[in-house]
Amino acid sequence: MMDVLYFAWVRERIGVPKERIETGAATVADLVEELKAREERYEVAFSDLSALRVAVDQELSDFDAPLDGAREVAFFPPMTGG
């Protein structure tokens, strides 16, 4: 089981801030493919990965990062702090 979090317009497109999913995905990219296959709202949200960022267990990460042992994955647009 893994917590998947969405922020900003990714959250709005997917419609929930967080969900708990059962997955055997080996990498972030595999997880994205799994989600896209689920429903159209995921396919829309993940249509352009270059517009997205990802954090694995609350550390900024890459789409090819492995997920073994990861408990929390978050997807969001480029950050706009400051």
Partner: protein
């Protein structure tokens, strides 16, 4: 080093003063304050700042620690708000203290460059006819290559 993430307003004058007064033998203190501007459309009623509660504090501490090490700072302060803010309200501040001015300036700019594009905050401008997420600016990402 102090890192604060909160929805409440902060008292910039008091924070700046007490940061500077707490230093010993530091010749230079720099502060930066980020303030809510109107949207490009000019109709912004409120800005909503979303963040990633579990990650924000850790991400800011990591950035501040790196600044402390790279410039041998006497101290560093980061305060960042989230939630709903109005125009001309203060969003955030950083402060740095160093023996010389170049280090204090550079460290403050480093903190700002990293906060801009590596701290998990997202800004939404809510105006008269709808809301827009603020897009990240390419030059903010480019700014990191300086460090």
């Amino acid at each position: 080093m102090r890192v604060v993430v909160q929805d409440a307003p902060f008292d910039f004058g008091r924070e700046a003063e007490s940061f500077a007064k707490a230093q010993t033998n530091m010749g230079a203190v720099v502060t930066f304050t980020g303030i809510v501007r109107d949207s490009a459309k000019g109709d912004m009623a409120v800005m909503e700042i979303e963040h990633y509660p579990g990650m924000t504090q850790k991400a800011l501490e990591k950035i501040a620690s790196e600044a402390m090490e790279r410039w041998e700072l006497g101290d560093a302060l980061v305060i960042h708000r989230y939630g709903r803010l109005h125009r001309d309200e203060m969003i955030m501040m950083v402060a740095t203290a160093a023996r010389h001015r170049v280090a204090a300036f550079e460290a403050a700019e480093f903190l700002m460059d990293y906060l801009k594009s590596r701290a998990p905050f997202w800004k939404k401008e809510i105006g008269a006819d709808g809301a827009d997420w603020v897009a990240a600016r390419e030059e903010d990402d480019d700014a990191l290559s300086r460090w």
